[in-house]
């Protein structure tokens, strides 16, 4: 009996634990994947509407607040530093921190009057953290400089990403405007913590909203995200089913042993006039009790187990799902009930006449 209870508890624990993780993993993994950068980009859809911060804001407002990790606008202009053409990106530094968490900065994020300089460009221009430089803007082509004296800026940090970002310098949008005048945004990166389907959904909604903004998904990130998730969830599902089947076998074995052990008692009860119904009721009742107690125990254990895994793998805690308690109990009662079917059948097949057989 204790063995059966243990089996049910463990089964229920794994069930509730894995289900908790099953539902929590997309969120957790999403947060993890968001470290690899934006999974949606917004560009101008080429209509008359200007692609500016307001347009971006309108587009982003279609995304649910708790799923939106960050949004970062970018405007690229070619400027001159020490007479060398350099691509300057005007952006929102706070946004960049959220959409590009993988950026590695030697030094500090820039404040006013400061710039983040890509590693390649810094080497090319001979700039170090703390160096100052003068930026001028020549407009399109090789025309005369609009502002003769240019703008002086300090290098707050060197940006290392291993990608094309190292070829640019990053300054705030306002400062780029001061240097190069008004201009529209080129792109906005959005990081959304959502599965592929709802990402697609958001993109469609933005594209259909006629905001002059078109949204595209960064395929590389989103599809690898969802394929990993699908595989993981399938794995969790299979493990859960296997564990439930094992639990059922264990309970069935124990109950069969109990019935065999109590054959004489069952025979006696039948000889005393116990109906099949009351024999079924008695053993099923025992099974259901086992299921309920095991289920409750398991649900609690499972939460601890899920919490432990979450803490170790994702280093974040998970919230208890109250609905999981009744679900776990119902599933364990169903599993024990199913497991009791054949032992109970053999219990009602016991011949009452065996009480008159000498042993």
């Amino acid at each position: 009996m204790v063995v059966a209870l243990l089996a049910i508890s463990v089964g229920a624990a794994i069930l509730s634990g894995l289900v908790t993780i099953y539902y929590d993993v997309p969120r957790q993994m999403g947060a993890q994947f968001r470290n690899y950068g934006a999974n949606m980009i917004l560009v101008s859809s080429g209509t008359d509407t200007e692609f500016d911060l307001d347009a971006v804001q309108d587009a982003v407002s279609l995304i649910s607040g708790d799923e939106l990790v960050g949004v970062t606008p970018y405007r690229y202009e070619t400027v001159k530093i020490h007479d060398q053409p350099v691509v300057a990106a005007g952006t929102d530094m706070n946004g960049a921190r959220t959409t590009s968490p993988y950026w590695h900065i030697e030094g500090e994020w820039p404040a006013e009057g400061q710039a983040l300089v890509g590693k390649t460009e810094a080497e090319h221009l001979g700039l170090k953290v703390g160096s100052t430089f003068n930026v001028t803007y020549s407009g399109e082509g090789d025309e005369e400089v609009t502002d003769d004296f240019g703008t002086d800026m300090t290098v707050s940090g060197i940006l290392e990403t291993g990608g094309s970002e190292e070829d640019y310098i990053y300054i705030s949008l306002d400062e780029l405007e001061e240097i190069a005048g008004d201009g529209s945004l080129d792109i906005a990166e959005v990081s959304v913590s959502a599965v592929k389907e709802s990402l697609n959904d958001y993109a469609d909604r933005i594209n259909n909203a006629d905001l002059g903004v078109s949204a595209r998904l960064v395929k590389r990130v989103t599809s690898s995200e969802s394929s990993v998730l699908t595989k993981l969830q399938a794995l969790v599902l299979i493990v859960t089913i296997v564990v439930l089947v094992l639990t059922m076998i264990c309970v069935a074995t124990t109950m069969t042993a109990v019935v065999t052990e109590r054959r004489r008692e069952i025979g006696l009860r039948k000889a005393l006039g116990a109906s099949d119904g009351s024999i079924i009721g008695e053993f099923m009742g025992e099974g259901v009790m086992l299921g309920i107690i095991g289920g409750i125990l398991g649900a609690v254990l499972g939460f601890v187990f899920a919490q432990f895994i979450s803490m170790n793998v994702f280093s974040s805690s998970i919230s208890f799902r109250p609905l999981l308690l009744p679900v776990t109990v119902i599933v364990s009662v169903a599993v024990t009930g199913l497991a009791c079917l054949s032992p109970v059948r053999s219990a009602i097949d016991v011949d009452p006449a065996l009480v008159l057989k000498g042993e």
Binding site: L268, R269, A271, L272, G273, S275, P352, A353, V355, L356
Partner: protein, 224 residues
Amino acid sequence: MSLLQLKNISKIYGELKALDDVSLEVENGEWLAIMGPSGSGKSTLMNIIGCMDKPSVGEVILDGRDIAKESDKGLTEIRREKIGLIFQQFHLVNYLTAVENVMVAQYYHSLPDEKEALEALERVGLADRAKHLPSQLSGGEQQRVCIARALINHPEIVLADEPTGNLDEANENIVIDIFKQLHNEGTTLIVVTHDPEVGEVAQRMIVLDHGKIKTDRVNPDFGK
């Protein structure tokens, strides 16, 4: 009409006729002993009278119902309502106390009633052992619990299969005394026994041999 009528019954196991064309009538209030060598068919007969088995051939009329025609459910009901069983091995439920063992029979019959169960134990002289587990009782005491359980629902027939087979002389006499008391109260008693002393005190005795009734006689000394 007799309480129990067996009309030409046989129980056939393959080649073996455990009972071979047995006819028997038992009157209400009669005390019958069934004797015979091992394998003569005594338990087979008990199983049929106790509604735990049906004959292969023949009719068994108990209180006007033919049990050969009853379903398993019907047999269960007759067992519950009309039969009290006493066993050689007592068959007490080992995790229940004496009084709870008596109440098991009440449970399947009607409603457990502890007061009534305690009175039944008192009748067999076990009032002070009511809260003991079977393992804490002697064989004789266990047999008396078994008798109390058989009597609790006021059955029409009390069947006992070797009730004294596992008891010493003193306890055997206690059981015989209880049987006498039951007989005086009008209970129909059918007792299977090897023991001549138990057979001799009955009102009537039949002897089985190879599934047939060899002797059927009324005890001339009965009641003396």
